[in-house]
Symmetry: D2
């Protein structure tokens, strides 16, 4: 039995619930320290000018980086987002958004991660947002912030 | 007729559509350079640990600051989020979230804004997120980023 | 003997050494969770357009917030800057810069802080930069990042 | 005569003056949209624990990204730092710091850039800081912020 593979599959499923299910997030692939997700663009994702709302991209950038981090910590730890910064590079429209996140540094408690969000239409993709994020790994029992 | 008041009322209505309607955003009060919004917390806003997802708070922080900025620019301009940074201070739960945003500096094109998100339960409120954001005012015709 | 006061005075002195001495940082006042510092503007602080270099303001914003954090943790802990974000609001010039920092949230390991940098000329002051910063408290022995 | 090459050489020289000269910044190589700089680590760069002060890394990250941006705009424009966010990944020590910056998106007025700072000791290099920055290109005559 491949327990690492089982763990990654369980995390992929766990990633879609509550708000991320509400946003239509779909996992694409999860490897240790790397996660890719997608959202098919629908009217409920748009803002007042007809482009995808920055909040959808920010939610993807944060959540995808969070589960990329999850894949690197022991099963009895959970991941909290400490903070992030995101730049919006182009108005986003198309068939779907794809977010690619990776952990760039893992400390004892903190993980620094990076997310890139692409808008994809047919064969073309356009980098629409880039984020630099800090995650904290805390034991399951603790409910307070690190 | 009070055209300034009409404009603010129109902006308050305009603020809820597409993704922000999907998230349950409600305007509370809008004054020049200041906007307050609320979201009643429901299951669709939660993350894997039962707290409000960071994406809900980030969407509020961004959108509320965006419309606080809208209130300061001529009607033929629209507001784009250039970038923001947000810190999450406490796990958020309670009856509803309230976001209070204000413009701290207005330049020719760029507006620097600040948002504070509070989780409110009964009479108690808790600062759960703080953001520092950069907005750009662009003329309606332009579809590209500044 | 007032050991709290002694501790704060020792921290104020400790704040000026190495790079901050090189930058001309001067402590103004330190209270628990709050620190104010100054830099008298000289030619060595300027950038190519004759304004104060962003690096001077960033160094002040970071260092002043760091020692505001120091004042809240046990003497056997030290403070590391995890990350920060800073907006530059106006070109800075004048007699001196003053940075006012405060801790807005203290967790078990992480402290979230805020810094405002003012350019002061005679009686006038102008907010020239604002930062939102994350600090980590670690025990003296540990040399690695949290 | 290669005017592009002359322009890049002039920018490389221009990059070291005032505060960056005070910090010991040295240009390494400048290509359109990409700049590399170094600082030989000296005692005047250190903080209270004997590591390089975050302010030195932030100044490099900002300034190197600024001149990477300069290389892409017409000669009658200058570059202002709108804001940046920087994560510190490891305590920095060694022989020198090297900062590698590149422009990841150029809009009409705003340029989004990225900087990585490495600490180099002998043959080894360690990524010690990463930044995501927003620059604005403004015409020489304007002295106010965009």
């Amino acid at each position: 039995m491949d327990s690492e593979k089982d763990r990654l599959n369980a995390l992929k499923e766990d990633a879609v619930q509550g708000f991320t299910a509400h946003c239509g997030l779909e996992p694409v692939s999860l490897a240790p320290g790397q996660f890719i997700t997608r959202v098919r663009i629908r009217d409920c994702h748009l803002q007042q000018d007809g482009f995808v709302h920055a909040g959808v991209m920010a939610t993807m950038a944060d959540h995808t980086a969070g589960y990329a981090s999850f894949s690197l910590v022991p099963p009895d730890q959970r991941i909290l987002t400490v903070e992030y910064k995101i730049n919006f590079l182009s108005p986003a429209s198309g068939d779907y958004l794809e977010c690619r996140s990776r952990v760039i540094q893992q400390g004892r408690t903190l993980l620094v991660t990076e997310s890139e969000v692409y808008a994809i239409r047919g064969e073309e993709e356009d980098l629409v947002a880039k984020a630099l994020l800090t995650m904290a790994a805390v034991s399951q029992e603790k409910t307070s912030r690190p």
